[in-house]
């Protein structure tokens, strides 16, 4: 049976959702971001904004310098996530083998179902039409013998496109394909290869697999195979056990205020712990990631004896690690993650540990019933209490989340 893999990629997803919600934004350059009064970046840009050079990840001042007439819209991640759920649910009617790749992308293995929908082109068009009819959103579809080529196919025809790559087309396609078009070759690797005079997949093929294996090891082999359009990776229907659980937060302003940084680390630790509790995971490794205001990024991790999904415990371990950094600049972003997850750990041995476990289970049940953050550690309030004043740089009228008031200043443990 011929292997047929389909890649669906929503077009300018967040911006398209906002343009769907508000018809007055249609046809206009739209930038979806966080609160523009803080240090936020472009989360998504409409094609009208992209045409003027705006890209995801760009700072807002830079984006506005390229596109001064852009409309800034605060992101609504819950809406996007729920809409994604709707879209992915629609895809299961075309194949049971659906892999959710990101919030706006999915792979389908339609090898055994493509004939039921009249062939590849017909299937691709039906998927586009179904998503458009249900949500009003357009997508691009790529169909190819493997995931890599299906994703490349999409990148060649975005937005609102459909491209099929047949087996016989692969050699010619890959020969002249720019290396930047290959998933997995990021800007840094592309720049390095460009320094060596390599700008197309054909040039990679000409140098041979051995050349890249010698220089990059296993990654070199994967790079070479990708340049040849080879990819054996399956469409993974059931999410595998996560290797790690983490949360990161770009601070609204660069800071070296240790009290504020501690409060953020505590919140991130509790967020990680909460997700670990959902799957009853214990962890062994804590990783702390710090990005400074010059975008230098440090990551450090440490292995401990297995620890329970307790935010306070994770915070204590993370704070230890954070102290090992020698920071001479302000902090821009913080990230905490826990890895070496396992369920095969005996439960708490000591009464106080058992008591804390019962407490968190009760909190999780309450939040599950009444809504997230119905009950939360009082220490979360500290993040707002010690937050330095935010410089007012824009006269925007909206603020999606109102800081809650507090009557007593909490202190960190």
């Amino acid at each position: 049976m011929e292997r047929v893999i389909l890649h669906v990629d929503m077009d300018a997803y967040f911006a398209s959702v906002e343009q769907q919600i508000n018809p007055f934004l249609r046809g206009k350059p739209v930038i979806v971001c966080g609160n523009p009064q803080t240090k936020t970046v472009v989360a998504s840009a409409s094609y009208e904004a992209k045409r003027q050079g705006v890209r995801s990840g760009m700072s807002i001042p830079q984006a506005l310098s390229l596109c001064p007439e852009a409309v800034l819209v605060p992101g609504n991640p819950i809406c996007y996530a729920e809409t994604s759920r709707t879209i992915f649910s629609l895809l299961t009617s075309f194949s049971e083998e659906v892999e959710i790749y990101s919030i706006d992308e999915a792979f389908l293995d339609v090898s055994s179902t493509v004939h039921l929908f009249g062939g590849k082109e017909s299937l691709g068009l039906q998927i586009k039409k179904t998503i458009l009819k249900k949500t009003g959103l357009s997508c691009s579809v790529g169909i190819a013998p493997n995931k890599l080529l299906a994703k490349i196919a999409v990148s060649l025809v975005k937005p609102d496109g459909l491209r099929i790559i047949e087996e016989k087309e692969i050699p010619e396609l890959m020969l002249n394909l720019p290396i930047e078009e290959v998933p997995g070759i990021g800007p840094r690797l592309a720049s390095l290869l460009s320094d060596w005079g390599i700008t197309t997949c054909g040039q990679i093929q000409k140098l041979g697999e051995e050349f890249f294996v010698t220089r990059f090891g296993l990654r070199g082999k994967i790079l070479y195979q990708a340049a040849c359009g080879l990819d054996q990776s399956p469409v993974i229907k059931t999410p595998a056990q996560p290797k790690s659980i983490g949360h990161s937060y770009t601070l609204p302003f660069n800071t070296n205020d240790m009290e504020y940084i501690r409060a953020v680390i505590f919140r991130l630790s509790e967020q990680v712990a909460s997700r670990m509790r959902q799957s009853s995971f214990y962890g062994r490794v804590v990783t702390v990631c710090v990005r400074l205001d010059d975008f230098t990024t440090f990551t450090r991790q440490k292995k401990f004896l297995p620890f329970p999904p307790d935010g306070h415990r994770i915070y204590t371990l993370a704070w230890q690690i954070f102290h090992s950094f020698s920071l001479n600049r302000k902090v821009r972003m913080l990230g905490i993650s826990v890895s070496e997850l396992s369920r095969d750990i005996p439960g708490p041995l000591f009464p106080e540990e058992k008591s804390r476990e019962n407490l968190f289970q009760a909190i999780d049940r309450l939040n599950g019933r009444l809504g997230a953050n119905t009950v939360f550690p009082a220490t979360f309030l500290l993040e707002k209490t010690v937050q330095p004043p935010v410089p007012k740089t824009h006269s925007f009228q909206f603020w999606r989340f109102k800081p809650s008031g507090q009557t007593k200043t909490p202190t960190l443990p």
Binding site: Q20, I21, F24, T135, G136, N367, G368, G371, R400
Partner: protein, 81 residues
């Protein structure tokens, strides 16, 4: 410009087997006729499912939400040009 409101409203809606069509709603004594539902999504608040509607009058866009457990409608936001 988006303005957060968060106020209860009275809504006239037609429920059909697969969708809800909102005809008009009353806010601050003003009856607001809905031209079109531009977007729909659901969220969860604990065990409750909240249904969200983006509504266009032709001049403004309103976001309202419906909680089936409480049978209550809330005007969440107004998008102004």
């Amino acid at each position: 410009m988006i303005t957060e409101i968060g106020e209860p409203v009275k809504v006239a809606a037609i429920f059909t087997p697969d969708k809800v069509k909102i005809c008009w709603f009353i806010w601050k004594g003003r009856r607001i006729q809905v031209e079109k539902t531009t977007f729909f999504w659901k969220t969860k608040e604990g065990e409750k499912t909240i249904h969200h509607f983006a509504l266009s009058t032709g001049q403004e866009v309103f976001e309202i939400s419906f909680c089936p457990e409480q049978l209550s409608w809330l005007l969440e936001k107004i998008h102004l040009e």
